[in-house]
């Protein structure tokens, strides 16, 4: 600040005002202002903390995803190495110790455990009595092996269905284990969670044309190294509306807020299958949506609010306070008048409030598979979510009119700082129905219909405006899921 020279009038004002003389309390603000500021400050601090929690959760989500991807790649590499090693066995004569040889070979890739469901294995043997024998091996290890282009191998694969079970029929010419043409049929039996809480998949393989000694004991089960994960991306057409509770606010009518407005979202997620029926999902979405509401009130035209602009235009200073679904918005507008009103004219103020939101959503959900038929499956899901409002834009379209003519119409916007307190964070619960269509071994098309509702009010409760606002959302998503 530079030194300035003041004249007498300026010095007089400066000195006199700084003395703060006047009637008692003329410049004493109410303690309520301090209390209101502290409430706002607390909300800001809470928001800051929640923002850090959100950043932390996002970091954990990304880190977990990275670890899963890394582990998945690692397992695939391990499986590939194991298969490469097994292919080298083509050179070894089959007749000598084949059973042990195969066991050792597979042990390089998978951990062998004794079966706890001998009955199931025994039944399988009986059912498949025509076959030479049955073996149960790791789905991952085996299918990885089958997709390898071995020196002498040629693989034809076909997915068929038999008695409610999904079967993969394989015609496997040239074996990694024996130099002989064989036909194998794999039956997907089931998955369960082991004591170590790792998903186990079983395959039953019916093989023809091979000597019995070439296969491992049917009572053996193989434990997979990797749990079944799927990564998915999705885009949604989104619709949202507001519903309000406890509307008992003075001096205004609020309507139209229940109307659904369109929006969109994009996101990604990670799915972990606990069993072949039950899956856990973590999703991360960015959502853009809006809601609109119409505010109506009346006031008496006051000529003392008229003034002329610098270019001689007659203007009117209009002040209003709107209690929108989000917050209380104070507006002070200098407006150009279409028609001149006279004192005591009753003016209706009709303002359409459009509030647009950008929201970051973190959800955790459980999906239960209802139906599986061929390449199609349907599951139902429920998921609670944490939502953080990144940005809100409020646009207002106002029409002022008497019963005879329109006084003015104008558009304005409300900055975030001009509104009262609102919750930047809200929780919601969603229910969804998901349709999956298998495009390839690893890729699924995913179509989801979703309905959700926020659990806490968007608007902070205060004594002057007790209305509470909640979001209702519905969306239709299209996405792709990739099995890791």
């Amino acid at each position: 600040m530079s030194k300035i020279t003041k004249d007498k009038l300026e010095e007089f004002f400066d000195k006199r005002i700084k003395k703060q003389t006047g009637a008692e309390g003329w410049n004493l603000p109410s303690d309520d202002i301090f209390e209101a500021a502290m409430v706002s400050l607390d909300v800001e601090n809470k928001d800051r903390k929640l923002k850090w929690i959100l950043y932390f959760l996002t970091a954990v989500f990304v880190l977990t995803l990275s670890i899963f991807l890394y582990q998945s790649n690692l397992n695939k590499e391990t499986a590939n190495i194991a298969i490469s090693e097994s292919q080298e066995l083509d050179e070894i004569p089959v007749e000598v110790n084949n059973e042990n040889l195969i066991k050792e070979d597979i042990q390089k890739d998978v951990q062998i455990i004794q079966t706890k469901e001998e009955k199931q294995s025994t039944n399988s043997v009986n059912i498949e009595s025509e076959s030479n024998l049955l073996e149960t091996v790791s789905q991952n290890a085996f299918t990885e092996g089958l997709t390898q282009e071995g020196n002498n191998s040629k693989l034809n694969r076909e997915v068929i269905e038999e008695e409610g079970k999904e079967l993969v029929k394989l015609v496997y010419l040239g074996s990694a284990l024996v130099n002989k043409s064989v036909e194998q049929k794999i039956l997907f039996v089931d998955e369960f969670v082991s004591l170590e809480n790792k998903a186990i998949s079983f395959l039953q393989i019916e093989s023809r044309g091979l000597p019995e000694t070439n296969f491992i004991n049917p009572e053996m089960e193989m434990k997979t190294h990797s749990a079944p994960y799927a990564l998915f991306v999705q885009g949604s057409l989104f619709q949202s509306s507001i519903f309000m509770k406890d509307i008992g606010v003075n001096n205004f009518t609020l309507e139209g807020y229940e109307k659904y407005n369109s929006g969109f979202s994009a996101g990604l997620g990670l799915q972990k299958a606990f069993t072949n029926k039950l899956k856990l999902e973590a999703t991360f979405n960015w959502i853009h949506f809006s809601n609109s509401s119409i505010y109506t009130s009346e006031f008496v035209y006051d000529e003392s609010n008229e003034f002329y602009s610098s270019n001689g235009e007659l203007m009117y200073h209009n002040e209003m306070e709107l209690s929108t679904p989000r917050a209380i918005i104070s507006m002070n507008d200098d407006i150009s008048m279409d028609n001149h009103m006279v004192s005591q004219d009753r003016i209706t103020n009709k303002t359409e409030v459009i509030e647009s939101y950008d929201v970051l959503q973190l959800g955790i959900g459980l999906n239960y598979e209802l139906l599986r038929k061929g390449k199609l499956s349907i599951d139902l899901g429920v998921s609670p979510g944490l939502n953080y409002i990144l940005n809100v834009n409020t646009n207002l379209n106002t029409i002022l009119a008497s019963d005879k003519e329109q006084m003015a119409s104008y558009q304005s916007t409300a900055e975030n700082t001009q509104v009262g307190n609102f919750n930047k964070i809200y929780f919601d619960a969603k229910a969804s129905i998901n349709l999956h269509y298998r495009i390839s071994d690893n890729l699924k098309l995913r179509i989801s219909g979703l309905y959700g509702q926020s659990l806490n009010s968007l608007k902070e409760y205060n004594s002057t405006d007790s209305a509470k606002s909640y979001f209702k959302t519905r969306s239709l998503s299209l996405g792709l899921a990739y099995s890791l």
């Binding site: 003329w26 202002i33 610098s310 104070s330 200098d334």
Partner: protein, 181 residues
Amino acid sequence: MKDIFIINQAKSGDRSAQRDLYHAYSKDWFSICLRYHKNRSDAEDALQNALIKIFGQLKQFNPELGEFGAWSSKVVVNENLLLIKKRTLNYELKEVEEQSDEKEEDSNYNGLSAEVLTLMIQELPLGYRTVFNLYVLEGYSHKEISDILNISLGTSKSQLSKAKLMLRKQIESIMLNSKVS
């Protein structure tokens, strides 16, 4: 010394210390707000915003670099300017011709209190009021005001000149009325 203790307590989030600071400085802060706005309600809004800034950023205040009163007053002035800009969709300080302002000041102004003078300032149009406050009471130069308000140097000078002319007329009117009565 006592101030520093209370400020340190307030920095750590002690609500009671924050309230003590408010009681100690609220008159100064509110006087500033009253000068920048036409009515008490707007001044209260400005004060509330300023309090959020002052107590939210209190940790940034360094007593070695200056007094709390000066630091907080600057925050209050800035918040007032911010609120004026936000609430005024067409924030225009119209260019007016610079007018001569060389009249002798009346030395009989002494009966006017700060409260009355503040009311006079409140009656000034927005542009005049803002420039007058910044120049006369906050001590900013016209160059600094032109930067803060994004107006020309000439506009700043002419706004001040107009403001003073209006204030002088108001004072003369009051003086005349008091003589008559």
